[in-house]
Subunit: 267 residues, 2 copies
Amino acid sequence: MKRFALNSATTKRWPLPQLVAGCADAGVSGVGLWREDLAAHGVAEAAALVRDAGLTVTSLCRGGFFNVPGWQDENRRAIDEAAALGAPVLVLVSGGLPDGSRDLDAARAHVGRSIEALVPYAQEAGVRLAVEPLHPMFCADRCVVASLGQALDLVEPYPPETVGVVVDTYHLWWDDQVWAQIARAGRENRIACFQVADWVTPLPAGVLLGRGLPGSGSVELRRFREAVDAAGYTGPVEVEVFAEEVWSRPGRAVLDEAIAGYLTHVA
Amino acid sequence: MKRFALNSATTKRWPLPQLVAGCADAGVSGVGLWREDLAAHGVAEAAALVRDAGLTVTSLCRGGFFNVPGWQDENRRAIDEAAALGAPVLVLVSGGLPDGSRDLDAARAHVGRSIEALVPYAQEAGVRLAVEPLHPMFCADRCVVASLGQALDLVEPYPPETVGVVVDTYHLWWDDQVWAQIARAGRENRIACFQVADWVTPLPAGVLLGRGLPGSGSVELRRFREAVDAAGYTGPVEVEVFAEEVWSRPGRAVLDEAIAGYLTHVA
């Protein structure tokens, strides 16, 4: 249980005070938060809520979306928020193709330049940027970074203590290269965040909200946890599930199920 | 127009006699067929229909689904049908994980053994097997072969004149390795079939029927055609689109639109 962390996206409709109290009560010491969670309370109050319950913030989701005008200021604000929360990691989802564009190479090159532009600011703030490859089904409209190998190539020019990657089982499980790339990520000291969700079919329309709690789907979750461990990762294991079916249930029941799934299928 | 071919999945509700007549009228000389198209007429009559209109069958879809009991007999029947039609290529979609299994490595190894088992039969029939990597979003329930590199690794032990791969823009466009793998496929003489569809968002529930006609989506289609050409491929370019919105329209209107999209975005 020491490494288990609840990402607040899993219990999207559980307000932060209840989520924090529920985690403390369940013996969970780490939470991954979203910027939306902070908006309702202000960053300082959210940070105090978490701290006063004896919890730590494992990551903040998310920066990125470099295809949206104003991305630079928006990402600096996200870095500031991560620093204020004491979150060691800010997750970056790159964004998809610009409207009307088919130029994937250009979009990917722009992601590299955007990360480069944020590095000094992140360094100063003491926040590590974590580039997240999403499943290739999100390539057009959400994230042009579509595999772990590609993410590692992309971050290669930047110092690993400032720029890492996210290993998320949901996004990477299909890739026959993923085990070699996790080992590479370890060698290159890039694993900044490890997130767990299961793959469930059929996918819903829009494909965003079809993830499953650990054990409900097709992914060899324990193999992933063992692989990141073997690569030298010793950080938290965040359960992060987006699913309407999960969101519709009470937060505490979902948390208990996430813990049970974690213990049976991941730990 | 010489290389344009209509895959009958694009005009799913156009009966074969009308499809054949419509293609001939539009100056289309190649059609990719599905085994379902044959079932309504019998293979011999379907073959005669196509031949008498002066058309050729560019490929038959599909064999594979090696996770379904009876796959060996079923695939032999598919090979026989391809031979009877004079189709040079039988497309193989591997199938997903067996029910209740999470063992992707085992499923992939089973695909290799299944192809191996079919090689002598295909050789005798003079039909080339074409292993199709599908988009990773189909990995669990439809096709454990999820990238062109993986497909090429899988077919490596078998003679290229009997076992090749399908390059389908819809399934491969997101992959930053795809250009290198297309070049490799050319060097290794593996490109057996080239299919074109566009990537359109948002995806519908179940994600099977969300493809777009050429030019309607995010894919650099011409770059793909140029890449397979540069790799030495000189065969047909099949437009293969699965989409409820396309199927709901008259076959001839869809064919005209497919041709227009091909000429503007692919040729």
